[in-house]
Amino acid sequence: MLTTLEKASCTSRGRGLGLWRRGGRLLLYLLLIGGAAIMLSPFLYMVGISLSPHAYTLPSPVDVIPTHPTLNNYISAWTDGNFGQAFFNSAVVACSATAITVFLSATQAFAFARYRFPGRTILFYGMLATMTVPGIVLIIPQFVLASRLGLTNSRLGLILVYATGMAFGVYMLKGFFEEIPQELFDAAAIDGCGVLRTFWSIAIPLARPALAAVTIFGFSANWEEFTWAVISTNDASLYTLPVAVQQYYSAHGSNWGIIFAASVIAVVPEIAVFLLFQRQFVNGIRAGGMKG
């Protein structure tokens, strides 16, 4: 407080500034809260309607919060609406694909970062270059390939295509492995550690924060992936949550209670992952932003 006063008295504008400042701060918070309300009110509608007993619409758009909240929409979405099955599919597909991606990007990034071998440059930059190709260019020929291999309409087909999105992980982990001091690796070599031991007992434990970031990004991308899933699956029993919600919407467009209950089921895991691992999210995005 004292410093503010001192600063204020130093400027030519003098005394009115303290009041000015306080007014400015109030305005600042009002703007921030107003903005946050705009960002969040759509979610309020989603949650409000999902808890509301009126199956179709609300009596008036102002009554966002239902007076008699009920979980009926959730119960019927989970059981009759096939969303329990879809939740299971999403979980299986997203978790296995993420595990494969993280493991394979770690092994590749480690080899690229710490060893010289013929083909190293072209393989790494070749993989990186495909990151600039918009994913959707791939989806049509991937569909053709998957149908030739009999992998359309299967969870394995979903998992394999999702697991292929490794380039970002390889790029990020390579940078991380490169920063580990060489002395640690020299010491390991003197102790007779091979590539595998060095990877498993030195590189992996040190790379935990980076591995966490790659896992979280991978999981949330795989959890919400829609385009490949809607193209490659036909059986309702194989739908992941985004496809199940979209299919339900296109069949029962105005049954908002169930649509939004299913939507909540679909987004809660990814928002929870974000809130729990905010730091990794923000740092990951910063890492991306800084390289540009």
Partner: protein, 316 residues
């Protein structure tokens, strides 16, 4: 015998040494290649091969049935796209969508970042709130907007129509050829503000505070500080945002597919919804592949141009 001569022995020893060295090199490289192999195999099969396959496909009247021969037609699919009015309409739509959403996201994202870039209470709380739409699936936010903008007593319709009387009753948004695309733009901006906020906040925090202090001593006011320090030093961040968001904007697919299917009357058709329809409704895979390749070339060119234009090195 020749071999027993000293020269011959030396040659034999060198060959033996080289063979051993090669063996050692092989043993050194083997585990490294084994580390690369599984990931590379997946990458080659599911990324590189499809990429080339789509290129080949785009030169054929491609027939999905493997038992029927596809006909090589050279550049005809590309020529067809360039003379297809729907292709051009899709191009204009994504172009407009991209310009509006990129500018909107950057301005609002920067504005929020500027508000948050000071000592305030609950910084982390606000940052998380603004970021939540970014981590919510496109399908779900699209459905929420379908509800918000539904013509039958939806919240927007109610607020602008029944409360403020700015629009006629039961105004159609997503069903209107003029309003559907703007509605999708609002969705795109709303979803992307948080992402821009985070990268601009990082950019702002990397500007050394001494620069501002020095300029303040020289009597610069806030606007001058913003114009002559903040904006120039944010240039790399702006470049990054513009390139990434342009790629995203041009590649828009899910909200259009979910909300309008590219309609009404192709007014929200994007290059990718059009490619999708051609592939999976008309089964014209060759034409669809050609459209996606044109799309990829446009996106790459735009990125290169933008990087050239926007990123001049700034030094202080």
């Amino acid at each position: 015998m020749a071999v027993s001569s000293p020269g011959g022995l030396r040659v034999a020893a060198r060959v033996e040494r080289q063979r051993r060295q090669k063996g050692r090199e092989f043993r050194r490289l083997l585990p490294i290649y084994l580390f690369i192999l599984p990931g590379m195999a997946l990458f080659l099969l599911w990324t590189l091969y499809p990429l080339l396959d789509a290129l080949v496909m785009s030169f054929f009247d491609w027939i999905p049935n493997p038992n029927m021969p596809s006909t090589f037609i050279g550049l005809q699919n590309y020529a067809q796209a360039l003379s297809d009015p729907i292709f051009w309409q899709a191009f204009r739509n994504v172009f407009a969508y991209t310009i509006v959403t990129v500018i909107g996201q950057i301005i609002l994202g920067l504005a929020v970042a500027l508000l948050l870039n000071r000592k305030i209470m609950a910084l982390g709380f606000f940052r998380a709130l603004y970021y939540i739409p970014v981590v919510t699936s496109w399908v779900v936010v699209s459905l929420i907007f379908a509800y918000l903008f539904s013509s039958n007593n939806g919240p927007v319709d109610w607020f602008l129509g029944d409360v403020l009387h700015l629009i006629p009753d039961n105004q159609s948004w997503l069903g209107s050829t003029t309003l559907a695309l703007p509605t999708l733009m609002i969705l795109g901006i709303w979803k992307g503000v948080g992402f821009n906020m985070v990268i601009f906040l990082a950019g702002l925090q990397s500007i050394p505070a001494e620069l501002y202090e020095a300029a303040r001593v020289d009597g610069a006011n806030r606007w001058v500080l913003f114009r002559s320090i903040t904006l120039p030093l944010l240039r790399p961040t702006v470049t990054f945002a513009v390139v990434i968001l342009t790629m995203g904007g041009f590649g828009s697919f899910i909200p259009m597919y979910v909300l309008t299917g590219g309609g009404p009357l192709h007014s929200t058709e994007t290059l990718l919804t059009y490619a999708f329809t051609n592939a999976f409704s008309s089964f014209d895979f060759g034409y669809a592949a050609a459209i996606t390749y044109i799309f990829a070339v446009i996106v790459l060119l735009l990125a290169l141009i933008q990087i050239r234009l926007v990123s001049k090195k700034v030094q202080y």
